[in-house]
């Protein structure tokens, strides 16, 4: 088990505030309660989606269980003008960017490759290819600086990019090349690596013999290791890294040290490769529990608020269940759309062929 030393923590697993010499939280009671609400709802979203997959309504789902604090803390540190590039597991980040959970399901059900307007949400979508998007994030950030969208001195307006990826991704060439570009051009991008300790069945040790954050130094950017189950700390370090990026001072690598409490995806069976003792340990470090303990102790959270939140979560789950089952399969002819910017004669012939096949099937059925 890796030690948590040299890891930024502002809220202990016992739910007590901790001091850090460098990072401080600016969040008041209402803001903390809002983070709590996000985490509770996102966990519900995740559990409901997992259940829908079990019931055969989704082809696959990648659970975020255990990573709520890392995702919500970092995503709530962003501003509307920022832009996010993420993997398939960032449902919590998608939630914070205003993506409808039912649209998230459309991807996993297999009715759409991407089900929302990336530019509207400034959230690019679920990237399945490990590491590919980290270069895209860097290029996007390069564009922001070229157009003077960053480093103007107005932190309310200055823009930055956040790229999410996992510990496994740290080995891909694309990710390492992204670090080179971002530091070389001092681009306004925050690299947010959720080290959930596993890349499917491979422990982080296979990807690195040093803590991942330490690698940043060699590329020439700050590396911060944060307790990924501490939403307050995740929020604080991401704010600091974003402010730095916005101020034109370049990229930061954040390693949020956390644990994938569930399976890699619904197709995975973690009992084949890891010890359940770790699961126990990490349950005691649950990101939601510790904030609940703190908020209850501060009387920011009480029975009444908890029960309101429980109903809100139940309503969300119900809406997901109903809407998911109602998600219609796309018209097969749409497969020919958007291959190119305009029509193509050969594709048009193929589309007509499929149209005829479908019409023929229709007559056979009737």
């Amino acid at each position: 088990m890796e030690s948590l030393e040299a890891t930024v923590q502002l809220l202990s697993s016992m739910g007590e505030l901790v001091d850090d010499p460098q990072f401080h939280s600016t969040l008041d009671g209402a803001a903390l309660l809002a983070l709590y609400r996000d985490m509770v709802l996102v966990r519900q979203l995740d559990q409901q989606a997992t259940a829908l997959q079990r019931q055969g309504e989704l082809g696959l789902w990648a659970p975020l269980l255990g990573q709520e604090a890392a995702q919500i803390g970092s995503a709530r540190a962003m501003q509307a003008q920022d832009y996010v590039f993420s993997t398939y597991r960032e449902h919590g980040v998608a939630w914070c960017r205003g993506v409808d959970p039912v649209d998230m399901l459309r991807f996993w059900r297999g009715t759409a490759h991407q089900a929302w307007d990336a530019n509207l949400h400034r959230f690019y979508g679920y990237q399945v290819i490990i590491g590919a998007h980290v270069l895209h994030a860097t290029g996007y950030a390069m564009g922001m600086s070229k157009d003077g969208r960053t480093g103007t001195g107005d932190l309310e307006k200055d823009q930055a990019v956040v790229a999410y990826f996992g510990d496994g991704a740290m080995s891909e060439g694309d990710v390492n090349e992204a670090f080179v570009f971002a530091t070389s051009f001092q681009s306004p991008v925050v690299f947010f690596c959720q080290n959930n300790q596993w890349a499917i069945s491979e422990p982080t040790r296979r990807q690195s013999v040093v803590p991942l954050a330490q690698r940043a130094q060699g590329f020439g950017m700050p590396g911060i290791r944060v307790d990924g189950n501490d939403v307050i700390a995740c929020h604080a370090v991401t704010m600091a890294a974003l402010d730095r990026a916005r101020a034109g001072k370049g990229p930061t690598l954040i390693e949020a040290f956390t644990y994938r409490m569930g399976a890699h995806t619904t197709s995975d069976d973690p009992t084949k490769y890891r010890d359940s003792a770790d699961d126990e340990l990490w349950r005691s470090r649950d990101p939601i529990d510790r904030l609940r303990i703190y908020l209850r102790a501060q009387e920011i959270l009480n029975e009444k608020v908890e029960s309101e939140l429980a109903s809100e979560a139940a309503y969300l789950a119900e809406r997901m269940r109903v809407s998911c089952r109602e998600l219609a399969d796309p018209n097969p002819l749409t497969m020919f759309d958007h291959v190119y910017s305009g029509p193509d004669a050969r594709l048009e012939r193929q589309r007509l062929e499929v149209e005829a096949i479908l019409a023929d099937q229709e007559t056979k059925v009737n």
């Binding site: 991807f107 297999g110 490759h113 679920y126 399945v128 290819i129 080995s171 891909e172 497969m335 594709l347």
Partner: protein, 327 residues
């Protein structure tokens, strides 16, 4: 005879190859304790150790690149790429290095590397988990590209691929992984047909269906249905996509005078076009109809819920046969 699924046959074949040559080693993501996401390497790390069944860092270019170094040193690496859609980070190493080393070094250096990967659609998963990249590899001289369609071929061809002194792209039809069949384990590697040859699976006289990998089962089904209607189809499983076994195809087409090529990959730039052109060049006077293709369309794989329409099915094959017969 032993009943095995394709997954089990591959597993047994890998085991035999590792037992008979201590220089054979396996590399890939999650192939150790997990046994690979499709369990093809199940139990092999336990029996052969972490030195020979290597869970690699998550970097496909790294895996293929270091395998090239290992092969230059004297090992015989067998790589698992987890899904077809994840091979592209290794493209440079495969196309520019792996394929050309023998040629570049005038035969001094050779790279006996096998790259296994599941391919094709039909498993209902998300983007990049169903792709048909075979034509990229098949159009690259120096690579041998083969695919098995049943447990017998899975068992023998994987061993032949590993024994080959050329780099082999070994494509596994993922939606047929669980298909079972009887395998005669008492045969020997040299007595079974070479993986460089196509196989006639069903003899027929009216039209030749040329298929490979996942579309073999579909084509056999089509042939059975056609037989009920009195149409006699000959079914050829290509097995080797590059180099192509022209002799077996020509013999068949000279007999039937008609051919339909079936694959899941898009038609543009695909194997079907190459097969059709070769047959046109060598069998022009025997052909009663142009060689037709039943393939995926010229789009990326669509979302899984409409993939059935994209993939060739029995009806599309029979329609093509009818069209061919009506020339």
């Amino acid at each position: 005879m032993t009943e095995l699924s394709i997954v089990q046959a591959l597993n047994r074949g890998l085991r035999c190859a590792m037992e008979s040559d201590p220089k054979v080693l396996l590399m890939g993501e999650d192939i150790g304790k997990l046994g690979g996401v499709f369990r093809v390497t199940e139990g092999l790390q336990k029996d052969f150790g972490e030195d020979r069944v290597i869970d690699a860092p998550l970097a496909e270019s790294g895996i293929v690149g270091t395998a090239i170094g290992l092969a230059l040193y004297g090992y015989r690496p067998v790589i698992e790429i987890q899904f077809d859609g994840f091979v592209y980070p290794a493209f440079d190493q495969i196309i520019v290095q792996l394929a050309r080393m023998r040629y570049r070094s005038a035969g001094v250096l050779q790279l006996p590397i096998t790259i296994r990967m599941p391919f094709g659609g039909g498993i209902g998963s998300v983007e990049h988990h169903g792709e048909s990249p075979e034509a990229y590899f098949a159009s690259t001289p120096g690579l041998r590209v083969v695919t098995c369609a049943n447990p017998v071929d899975a068992y023998w061809m994987i061993q032949q691929a590993i024994a080959s002194d050329d780099p082999v792209i070994f494509l596994e039809p993922k939606r047929r992984y669980w298909q079972k069949g009887e395998v005669d384990l008492s045969e020997t590697l040299t007595s079974v047909p070479s993986m460089y040859q196509a196989k006639v699976l069903v003899e027929g006289s009216d039209c030749t269906i040329i298929c490979y990998g996942p579309t073999v089962a579909t084509s056999l089904h089509a042939a059975a249905l056609a037989a009920q209607d009195g149409v006699s189809l000959e079914v050829i499983d290509l097995r080797t996509l590059s180099p192509l076994d022209l002799v077996t195809m020509e013999k068949s087409v000279k007999k039937t005078g008609r051919a339909v090529v079936v694959h899941e990959a898009s038609s543009s730039g695909g194997i079907g076009g190459e097969v059709g052109q070769c047959l046109t060049e060598s069998c022009f006077y025997y052909l009663q109809a142009p060689v037709l293709r039943v393939t995926g369309y010229d789009t990326p794989y669509p979302p899984s819920r409409i993939e059935d329409v994209y993939l060739p099915d029995v009806d599309r094959i029979l329609d093509a046969v009818e069209k061919s017969m009506s020339y």
